[in-house]
């Protein structure tokens, strides 16, 4: 979601994005940054970004370069696969003042429920590195970590460590791993979820049966 920084809308820009994370973009280059400060009350309106290494970037309002701006990250509810586990990102239900992701409006937790602060490290795992369900599934079955989880889709995830399948954080059934690469899924309500979960297995090319 690309936003130009203009002097006319500097006040709105500050309200929407100060303190949030997103990408500082110029042409095809984009850097994950936190938008630290919007100077909107002076004649020289600027935005200050900082990246994960602490390097500060300054963007002046009304840049002639149309490709320069801020790509904010909307806190849309969704599971994300990591290297060997998955997270659920969602908006915190409250009145929101910020449009991009920040600690005040976004909850990030693993499938097993471990909550993380919103920071560069977790956002890089969620947005910079993309893993397919099949990749994370394969990795998590060989993982020695306490949590073994992966996302089947943006709405469904499996925790092998807890033997559960979830829809957006809500348990909808039981899961057992058979022969290290086959999922046996028993749904609480097969009529409600059967087709969706079978579709997920089919789309992700993960072997399994659904009852």
């Amino acid at each position: 979601m690309f936003e130009k920084f203009t002097s006319a809308d500097a006040g709105d820009f500050r309200q929407r994005y100060q303190g949030t994370y997103g990408y500082f973009r110029q042409a095809d280059n984009k850097t994950l940054v936190r938008l630290d400060k919007v100077n909107f009350e002076t004649n020289n309106k600027t935005v200050e970004f900082v990246d994960e290494h602490g390097l500060t970037y300054t963007l002046h309002a009304d840049s002639h370069d149309e490709t320069v701006g801020f790509d904010f990250l909307p806190p849309k509810i969704s599971y994300h696969n990591g290297e060997n586990n998955a997270w659920l990102l969602r908006r915190i239900p409250a009145r929101q003042y910020q449009r991009g992701i920040c600690d005040r409006n976004t909850s990030i937790r693993t499938v097993d429920g471990i909550i993380f602060s919103v920071d560069f490290a977790i956002l890089k795992k969620l947005f910079n590195n993309k893993y397919s369900p099949k990749e994370t599934f394969a990795a998590t079955t060989h993982s020695t970590k306490t949590e073994q989880s992966f996302a089947l889709s943006s709405q469904f995830a499996v925790s092998l460590s807890r033997g559960r399948i979830y829809c957006l954080g809500q348990s909808i059934g039981q899961v057992k791993l058979v022969n290290s690469d086959f999922l046996s899924i028993i749904l609480n309500d097969p009529l409600l979820w059967g087709t969706e979960i079978r579709d997920c297995l089919h789309r992700t090319e993960i072997n399994g049966e659904v009852k």
Partner: protein, 327 residues
């Protein structure tokens, strides 16, 4: 039980007439508009008041807007009258897209005083199914606007039907005004407020919007909640989706691949909201089968003992258990 019977202070609206009508899906549905408008440079507030009063609109100030700006609020009218009045409103004021920045919105209030709590629940459930699709129609990245947050992003829909039917006032006390479909006015005006639409002078788009809303209410009144829940639960094939789409929104929007995907997502969200509504005994039984007896405390102990490398590597651990999980 009807809405007016639940919140005693809510009276039935005084519905204004308008001499003209426009074709629409649900002409009897009583609605009202709030049009946030900027750059109102041609007249002062009194001038605009005189200009738009014959269209059943009044003029108000709005602190969220910039410059010479007003909020134009219509009096309650039937949809066929309201759309005709809206068309005349734009003819008279000569507002164009220039008057509508991304700060502006069009809010549509729909009268619910004459419908039952079950019918309101049906509207809410239908809305859950089509919310993503409505945002797709509206466009303009409105789903990221902080003044009309989608239900699915803040889980407003979760267990809404059962909670609303058992204690509607409690639901409204915890509701957030800035959700895309705001239910709070039910207990004050007897309305629900659709907040998705961006500011626009495009009468065709606004007409379609009113027709979509009208279609939702029409379907919610025609189909019993129990039957609606039943059909949502069994919606799971492409042909079912298309049939459902055409039954609810037929003629308002074209059924295409984008809308099909949005509908599919919406159906999952609606089913998710109904998980505990349909809970059966299998969950308890299978939980016993798995011997899942771990407590929050045991998991907390495990984590704080440093046995969770993923968490240590990435960030702070603040709260340590998934409170959504039914144990």
């Amino acid at each position: 039980m009807k809405v007016v019977d639940v919140w005693k202070g809510v009276g039935t609206p005084k519905v204004r007439k308008y001499p003209l009508t426009a074709e629409c899906t649900n002409p009897e549905l009583v609605i009202g508009f709030e049009l946030e408008t900027e750059s109102c440079i041609k007249l002062n507030a009194r001038g605009y008041e005189e200009l738009v009063n014959p269209c059943n609109f009044t003029v108000h100030t709005d602190g969220s807007l910039r410059g010479l700006s007003y909020e134009f609020i219509s009096r309650p009218m039937r949809s066929d009258n309201a759309l005709a009045a809206l068309k005349d409103f734009f003819l008279l004021t000569q507002f164009t897209e220039e008057n509508y920045s991304d700060r502006c919105s069009v809010h549509v209030h729909v009268n619910c005083t004459d419908i039952t709590l079950e019918e309101v629940s049906s509207v809410a459930l239908l809305y859950t199914v089509v919310e993503e699709l409505l945002f797709e129609f509206v466009g303009g990245s409105r789903d990221t606007n902080i003044y009309c947050i989608p239900w699915n992003q803040c889980r407003a829909h979760y267990e809404l039907v059962s909670n609303f039917l058992s204690d509607p006032s409690h639901v409204l006390r915890g509701w957030n005004k800035y959700t895309a479909l705001n239910l709070i006015p039910l207990c004050t005006l007897g309305t629900v407020e659709f907040r998705q639409m961006h500011g626009t002078a495009d009468i065709n788009k606004l007409t379609t919007w009113v027709n979509i809303i009208g279609a939702l209410f029409k379907y919610a009144k025609a189909v019993k909640l129990k039957d609606l829940i039943g059909s949502i639960k069994t919606l799971n094939t492409t042909s079912h989706y298309e049939m459902f789409f055409n039954e609810v929104l037929g003629g308002q929007l074209p059924y295409n691949e984008v809308y099909r995907q949005k509908l599919e997502e919406g159906v999952v969200l609606a089913k998710y909201s109904l998980v505990n509504y349909s809970e059966n005994k299998r969950d308890k039984k299978s939980k016993e089968d798995l011997g899942d007896t771990r407590s929050n405390q045991s998991i907390y102990d495990e984590l704080t003992a440093g046995l969770f490398p993923a968490a240590q590597n990435v960030g702070d651990i603040r709260i340590l258990y998934n409170d959504d999980t039914v144990l």
